[in-house]
């Protein structure tokens, strides 16, 4: 902590010799980074502006949309929020992401710790985990196993399968291995058992790897819809956001096949994209700080 503050202070106060090469490099870097940001944003801007446009005019419009085409309106949004399936989907996705990440991280951390300790099971377990990486039975056998456990059609089928994999466990094992032996010995001398060592002492140190895993878990669960479409197709109240979005877009795909089409339905495909991303974009800067702190806590060790 102190180190970083010092670095910031130094960066703000330092006097640097700026050669012309430096200035050119500066300009190039600023321009390139701005370009990347721009490229990322332009398609999103296009979608955002399209979602507020007039449907009929938008259909006849060619090219990028920089400003709402035709009469600006929020009809697209009104249509998708008409019933609360999107809000329900949001809620569900948040619950699933938290649960999935939690279970996955817990499992990986605990397993990683156990693997890093010198036990008789260390070798066989590592082998077994590698085996699971090699072979996978596929969608249908998985379905059959879960069905025999009674998990089909329940929320457990959405948050448990796939929450961890051998790679994450091994990554955590490496993270724990990287902590100097002295730490373990010291805590052992202090009379701490394995659980205390794991949670209070070593886990905080392994958080840089842990953050990687958490990030991966969050992203994979946020965008997922396939698991839900297999296991809870008939329980709309349990659908995650992406599945709700798929339904909205596919239902309105043929809106032109009627004698009196409602052109606002064309806006739905744009509005759902914005509705799905907007809260994340708004909230993300707040989480970013926390995340970076978590990553900094440990050190990146080889």
């Amino acid at each position: 902590m102190a180190k970083n503050r010092k670095k910031e202070e130094w960066e703000n106060n330092m006097v640097e010799t700026k050669t012309t090469a430096d200035i050119i490099v500066n300009i190039i870097v600023y321009v390139l980074v701005a370009l990347v940001a721009l490229c990322s944003v332009i398609p999103m801007w296009h979608v955002l502006m399209s979602s507020f446009s007039d449907g009929k005019t938008l259909l006849a419009h060619k090219g990028l949309v920089f400003w709402p085409v035709g009469q600006a309106n929020a009809e697209g949004y009104r249509l998708i929020f008409r019933n609360n399936s999107i809000l329900q989907g949001y809620f569900n996705t948040i619950v699933y992401t938290i649960s999935f990440t939690f279970f996955g991280f817990m499992l990986s951390a605990v397993t990683g710790y156990a693997l890093s300790r010198d036990t008789k099971l260390k070798k066989p377990m590592t082998m077994a985990l590698m085996l699971t990486m090699l072979f996978s039975g596929g969608m249908v056998p998985g379905y059959m196993v879960l069905r025999s456990l009674g998990m089909v059609g329940t929320i457990w089928a959405l948050v448990l399968p796939g929450c961890t994999n051998s790679m994450f466990c091994i990554m955590m094992m490496n993270a724990f291995n990287a902590i100097p032996k002295e730490m373990y010995e010291a805590s052992h001398i202090d009379g701490a058992g394995h659980l205390t060592t794991l949670f209070e002492i070593t886990l905080p140190q392994a958080m840089n790897m842990g953050s990687v895993i958490i990030l991966n878990l969050v992203i994979s669960q946020w965008n997922s819809w396939m698991q839900a479409s297999i296991y809870v197709p008939n329980k709309k109240a349990l659908w995650p956001l992406q599945l709700v979005i798929r339904q909205l877009t596919s239902e309105n795909a043929n809106f032109l096949n009627s004698s009196n089409p409602d052109y606002s339905r064309y806006l739905i495909q744009f509005a759902v994209i914005i509705a799905a991303i907007a809260p994340i974009i708004i909230m993300f800067p707040f989480f970013q700080d926390k995340m970076e702190k978590g990553m900094i806590q440990g050190g990146v060790k080889g």
């Binding site: 180190k3 010092k6 910031e8 330092m14 010799t17 050669t19 430096d22 490099v25 500066n26 870097v29 600023y30 390139l32 980074v33 990347v36 940001a37 990322s40 398609p43 979608v47 090219g63 499992l107 605990v110 397993t111 156990a114 300790r117 008789k120 099971l121 260390k122 377990m125 077994a128 990486m133 090699l134 072979f135 996978s136 039975g137 596929g138 249908v140 056998p141 998985g142 196993v145 456990l149 790679m167 466990c169 490496n174 394995h194 840089n208 953050s211 990687v212 990030l215 992203i219 965008n223 979005i245 799905a276 974009i281 993300f284 800067p285 995340m291 970076e292 990553m295 050190g299 080889g302």
Partner: protein
């Protein structure tokens, strides 16, 4: 004698189960959750792998379908379009594993050179956005943008003088691969750089200060200090990436390719998808065989790259 002593030092080989359990029973308990998890979700469903070696049909199930050994693999590898699919898979995978891998690193390095904190944070947040958009939408956006008279096409025509055409219908060699690579980079550059940015920010300020005092320019500092310090992380990510670059993420191609571009866009995954699910009834056995092939390839690559990275001092396992 020395060997015996060594064994005593390491210990575990000579301890009996009883002493083990007494000392470290907590650790053994910690293994229980993952064992249960793996059994339920991985080992039990593994019986499904036999499907790759059978002529699976649902009425007979897994236990009644006739055994055909390696017939499906022969069909897979023997198809006349399979070599082409392999070539495309390798090409796209290589591009993903090299340029696609480096892009977030370069972006993170560039971000580290930026002094204005607000600008840096702003650009970072913007760059995250594409990652949250679903693949289907990304594909339809790009199809629109790169169609004839599409915004991106017009840009290419006006600035670089390339012909105005539908780029997705172009079946000349690097076109589809480059478009696909660009799509991948566009979607993941921001998110992929998060870890590198965090790693960079941990590098001790003292090092930079010392170097600056010695007269090093920012660029020199980047190459001599920043880069080597994040090298371990880069190697680790590289290993993880290699395993997946050739195997995963090809479902986008299903949305983007068409018969006239099969020669450049067909990959092992899409090829077997067509074999298994195109034209008439589905052939589960074939798709199981293909899945098996792909996961074996992925694992072999992973182990290879891990062995490679061990040479540089840091590896996954």
């Amino acid at each position: 004698m020395a060997k015996k002593n060594a064994a005593v030092l390491t210990g575990s080989a000579r301890r009996s189960w009883k002493t083990e359990l007494k000392r470290d029973w907590v650790v053994y308990m910690l293994f229980v959750p993952i064992i249960v998890y793996e059994i339920i979700f991985h080992f039990l469903p593994m019986f499904g792998i036999v499907m790759a070696f059978q002529d699976y049909n649902v009425a007979d199930g897994y236990f009644g379908s006739p055994w055909v050994g390696l017939k499906h693999f022969a069909t897979l590898f023997g198809g006349e379009d399979f070599p082409q699919a392999i070539r495309n898979t390798v090409a796209i995978g290589l591009l993903k594993a090299t340029i696609g891998f480096i892009a977030p690193i370069i972006f993170a390095l560039m971000l580290s050179l930026i002094e204005n904190k607000k600008f840096k944070r702003f650009c970072q947040t913007l760059s995250y956005m594409p990652n949250f958009v679903a693949a289907v939408i990304v594909c339809s956006l790009f199809t629109q943008f790169l169609a004839k008279d599409g915004p991106l096409t017009m840009l290419l025509t006006n600035i670089f003088g390339l012909t105005n055409q539908n780029w997705f219908a172009n079946d000349q060699i690097p076109v589809f691969w480059l478009i696909y690579l660009f799509m991948g980079i566009w979607q993941s550059i921001g998110w992929g750089s998060i870890m590198y940015v965090a790693a960079i920010s941990q590098i001790s300020g003292d090092l930079h200060e010392a170097a600056a005092i010695d007269g090093a320019t920012r660029m020199q500092r980047m190459f001599k200090i920043t880069l080597p310090n994040i090298l371990p992380m880069i190697m680790m990510m590289f290993v993880i990436n290699i395993g997946t670059a050739f195997v995963a993420g090809y479902d986008n191609i299903l949305l983007l390719y068409m018969p006239s571009t099969y020669s450049v866009s067909d990959t092992v995954f899409t090829y077997t998808y067509r074999q298994a699910f195109g034209g008439g009834s589905s052939n589960y056995s074939l798709s199981a065989a293909s899945g098996l092939f792909q996961s074996v390839v992925g694992t072999v690559l992973l182990l290879l790259s891990n062995a490679l990275s061990r040479k540089t001092g840091s590896s996954l396992f």
